[in-house]
Amino acid sequence: MTKRIFRSVLLTALAVFLACLALVMGALYSYFSARQEKQLGTELRLAAAGVEAEGADYLARVGRQDGLRLTWVDADGTVLYDSNADAATMENHAGREEIAEALETGSGEGSRVSATLSEKTVYLAQRLSDGTVIRAAASHYTVPTLLFGILQPLLIIIILALALSAFLASRLSKRIVGPLNSIDLDHPLENDTYDELSPLLTRVERQQRQIRSQLEELGRRRREFEAVTGSMSEGLILLDRDGGILSINPAASKLFGASGDCVGQDILTVDRSPELRAVISRAHAGARAEAAIERMGLEYQLTASPVSGGGAVLLIFDVTERRRAERIRREFTANVSHELKTPLHSIMGAAELLETGLVKPGDEAQFYARIRSEASRLLALIEDVIGLSRLDEGEDFPTEETDLHELACEVAAQLGPEAQKRGISLEVEGGPAKLTGVRRLLWEVVWNLADNAVKYGSEGGHVLITTDSAQGRARLKVKDDGPGIPPEHQPRVFERFYRVDKSHSRQTGGTGLGLSIVKHAVQYHGGGISLYSDGGGTEITVELPQDFERK
């Protein structure tokens, strides 16, 4: 800024200075030249009159005069006299412009610049009555010579102008810039500066307001985004076009074990598994890609989608539960068909034998009994499957006031003969455990647990059913003293068709769905099951809320 001001000030000063110089020089030079010429004319006329009257004597008398040179030339151009030089040595002057003119017209004039260009000589000539010519000449300095003469003061003036311009420029720029520098841009309108700045300041103020509101808006959006992604159980990662992380939600950073400051870094610094790299490169190429990864024993599905503009979105779902459910469903279907087939084969076989008459007369009753019992097994199985699928569907069942103690007594009476057969003593203890629930489902719970205890308890053993209620929860405990369930099987006994000892299923006649039904029925009521089992028996405890409310 200072430089520019300096330049303009200096330029102005020099321009004005030079213009003045040229004007003054031009005006004075032409004035003095005109004056000199006039004077020269007078001198010439005087000399001419003198020579006419006195001849060469006049000239000799006048002699050499300062600033004036007189030359007398004969009609043929021979120099007769010259005030400044020896006439004899001078060449013929007939060819000179002014003399030639004077010889012809009576008077002539001319001007010549000296060889060095430093002087200009003006000549005037006049023809005398005898035909000779008298010439007067005067010389003066040319403009460049004059300028050269005043060079020193000129330079001094220019240097002065330079210094003055520099000083003025720095002062001016300080004056201009000073207030600009001291402007408080945070509060533009509270500044006291010159008026020319106020449009700028109002604009700054307006833009600042705009920026503030935009920042607030951005902050709000970010908080919203973070609130949404933060509460997601799925992992979400946003990537820029180079694979740098723009945003990562807590679920994703927990999954990949990323630290909090990984935003802005490359995704590869967080995880560089082949699957992840593959889906990201596919997404960057503009295609959706999926992959399955395993982390900390859980299965995840990774989905990468390209975003217009070159980035990518990574979504990570926990699919452990889904995969497990799929596996269970597959197993269930396979199991159901198998379990349905076995009794049907039995029935088919017996029926075929009867049909072809291969059965000894008198033994038919045995085969009819087999067909009946297998058919009833099939029916029980189908009923269990239907019951389970109704529970799976989440169907609503009518609820009523039920007492687990009553149910337990009922079941114990029904299971009495069976228990007696195996020499097991079946007892019911405890007080009333009333709750609002689906009576049929609760009966299934009690029946299946007690039935299992009787079936799997050791012969001649003891099965104890205890019921009580406390703190809004009804509790049912079924305890046997059988061989127990080995620890590795315990987590799976509630799965459908899961059997601890596969070879015994025929013998005990269970469907393999009992405990699964128990689990679902308890879940339906919002209760919980706990299983404790060791070599000395199994104890299953069911806890149900007394005020059941179907959600």
Partner: protein, 217 residues
Amino acid sequence: MRQRFDGQLAALNRELISMGALCEEAIAVTARSVLEADRQLCGRVSALEEEIDQKEREIERVCLRLLLQQQPVAGDLRQISAALKMITDMERIGDQALDIAETAGFMGSLDEADAELFRRLARTVVAMVTDSVDAYVKRDSAAARAVAKRDDEADEVFQAIKLAMIDRLSQRPGDGEYALDLLMIAKYLERIGDHATNIAEWVEFAATGYYKGREVL
């Protein structure tokens, strides 16, 4: 200008990490090919090795161009020169993984005891490579030094395999091919461990300027 340079350095970093990831994958697949005696996996290792070679040339070019055009100093110079050295070791890891897979192609499955030893060696070496790349990712010189310590463990298991093979040969001289193949494989793995140590040393150099305990830059 500096911003552009930073972008180029970040790209170099990214390439280096993905090359490290390729190495990890190659060793993991190789180890599986030995343990499962699966010849199909050899093809995958060979594809990975090719990719690693390509990455090496790519990174080399980027490094040289950066050195030439940006004339980096201090930390930047350390990072680029360390990268140049690291890719050589990574490339060797890829080669050796392929060598192992090729040798394994002619072998049957391992005996249970040998498989256990081999598994231990493979686990150690894979962990060393993973740790060295992790150390690079996190610019963690302490983690880099820890990699070098694990090398002793790898050497120890290699010795155990060697002794087992000597023992085997003295008892069943007919098993010469098996013993030599397994020994070669174990040696290759052990060499991969050495390369991982080298990488870790360069990581420490990139982070601190000290190489093998001496200040270099």
